[in-house]
Symmetry: C2
Subunit: 344 residues, 2 copies
DNA sequence: GGTATTTATGAAAACGTTTTCATATTATTG
DNA sequence: CAATAATATGAAAACGTTTTCATAAATACC
């Protein structure tokens, strides 16, 4: 068992002393510098293992200005989409020898700002961020960018960012195909439970919704369009309001699956036949949508693809060392797909 | 917008120069040292803000040997229980000025070992770990402990660790009350779909199961007891095997909710009446269990409490600076609770 | 009013690496 | 075989803080 008396850690100097070599050579041997004799290298590696040596990342990072660490800011890791993206990113980065510091903003703008500062303080080599719903001004990321630190935004992204990479789902198309699907399955009176328009996500999905409605010459009933935080209770409340009216919707498109679940539960309780009298479509393909009865039609966002693209982009940016930053980086759009289930 | 030309960062020396003070004073002013004039402190703070100064954590950490960063190793962040625990930990630590590096082992022992090394390299002030199912030997954490770095294990924990703190749910009692509940609702032929016995979790839940059965003088049918990775397909396969036989179970206790869901789906497909002919109880109170029809009875583990206790314990350990390590730290057991739903 | 104490600051060392520069050794070339 | 190039190593500076030690200024005490 471990002896918890504070033990001083072995450093590069201990290896140097043991082998009668200079610390410089040890450093080179450990980091695979070409100009170091094969034998020396082996000796060093062996001695390092023997002494249980482990590089001190702070010393290394301070001197070399590289931390091999990448920061990630995300609203909530418990959201299915994000959990998947994060896992893909982490596994991807690991292959390149990078570590990930995962931080949650809890969808609070203040927290997001603070986390950006903290990650800057930690001198992460790059930053990945999925912003808050309320993030309209993205200037708290400027310090990183100014410093030449690559920043990749995904999901909730800035609209006019010159220097950061942007990766997002095709939200316009998502909104469009969801709405079109409702129309094609016979809906005439379609409601839209959407998120706040401060976020590009809901702007785009709303535009998609609008365009599909227009194209099929269907009127958009304004009191059936909600822009609100996409919580279970908010969605329920929206449903309650709509079904108080004389004319009620025969289709509901919600911008996330939690709201779709709430809508379905409301319908079940009120004895509204789904999909007979009311069709429901959600967004994100949360595992819960396939488990509930009836299972919910939704939009798949391919978190895996998003994650992969983020890693790929990041590696490019890190390799180019902030050289190609002058050319405006084009946003990358990941396609979406309709997953048809029993609610439509 | 940000100018991406590599800009050198402002340091403590820039502030010192601007104010004609020494770097030492700046450092003291910024870290709230008592012996610094109020006016000086204000000047420094103002100038720091003006220059957009942010402490370099690597330099700071290297010198002071404190990183204000805590490492977390977890099998998967997407597991509901862990996501909740992590969120509580992160929010809790944030209040004390600590940051969290979240790492996933993907339930791979090799990865867990590597992550422990990496986090040691980063000289985290402490480590929190929920181990792999296959972690039997915990010696890869010894280097941290040897170095005086506090380690807190939770969920999947070592059994004979002298120096680390241990926080776990009451798995024995969980197994016991789940089984007892099945018995009390009339089950006579109870199956147990459990995880591998390498992990304390499933050892304890199995013991609870055994004891409840014995106490009620019910026989344990060995071919109805499974120890396997708790995946959807494994659980399905177990169900298939059991329901091939002549005598079939009238109650199934599964050690996680994914398996319970699989069992329920199997029953639905085969037209087995739940809870009439078969009762099912899961473990963890995953949100999916309350959404599925019929909703699944399960065991609540109070991830929030676990998270809070972890933070509390950690802060104690960090305050005491590894002084009270000689007294064996007692494991902390968090109570569990039966959540009765429609499958029993 | 002199001594002791507290408060406030600076100079310089220290943390553990990496890297530049210099130099020594070995290999290659004509 | 001399001259050049490539390989291999070491000395010392550097990264940006914190902290120890020293000292100066202000305050308290008898």
């Amino acid at each position: 068992m471990a002896n918890p008396k504070k033990a001083q850690q072995n450093t590069i100097l201990d290896i140097a002393e043991a082998l009668k070599l200079s610390p410089a050579t040890i450093s080179r041997a450990l980091s695979g510098h070409p100009y170091v004799k094969e034998k020396t290298k082996n000796d060093v590696l062996k001695m390092a293992a023997q002494l249980g040596y482990r590089r001190n990342n702070m010393a290394s990072g301070l001197r070399s200005n590289k931390t091999h660490t990448i920061g990630l800011i995300v609203p909530r890791i418990s959201m299915f989409f994000h959990a998947e993206v994060i896992t893909t990113i982490q596994n991807g980065l690991h292959k390149y020898g990078y570590n990930l510091i995962i931080c949650q903003s809890n969808d609070s703008l203040d927290m997001e700002k603070e986390l950006a500062e903290i990650l800057f303080s930690s001198r992460v080599d790059a930053l990945i961020a999925a912003c808050t719903l309320h993030t309209v001004d993205f200037s708290h990321f400027d310090k990183l960018l100014l410093n030449g630190t690559p920043v990749v935004f995904y999901d909730r992204v800035p609209l006019n960012e010159q220097h950061a990479a942007i990766i997002k789902g095709d939200d316009f198309r998502g909104g469009y195909i969801a709405t079109t699907h409702l129309i094609e399955t016979g809906c005439k009176r379609i409601a839209h439970i959407s998120g706040p328009l401060t976020s590009n996500l809901y702007q785009d999905r709303s535009s998609g919704f609008q365009q599909a409605m227009e194209q099929h010459k269907l009127p958009v009933n304004k009191i059936w369009v909600f822009h609100q935080e996409l919580t279970h209770t908010n969605a329920r409340e929206a449903m309650r309001k709509m079904f108080e009216g004389e004319v009620t919707p025969d289709g509901v498109f919600t911008d996330n699956d939690t709201s779709a679940i709430a809508a379905l539960e409301f319908a079940r309780e009120k004895g509204i036949n789904v999909p007979g009298d009311l069709k429901i479509i959600g967004y994100s393909n949360d595992p819960r949508t396939s488990i509930i009865t009836p299972s919910i039609t939704t939009i798949e966002q391919f978190p895996d693809e998003v994650g992969k693209k983020i890693v790929e982009t990041l590696m490019d940016l890190l390799k180019s060392g902030g050289n190609n930053v002058d050319e405006r980086i084009q946003p990358i759009i990941i396609p979406v797909q309709l997953i048809r289930r029993m609610t439509t």
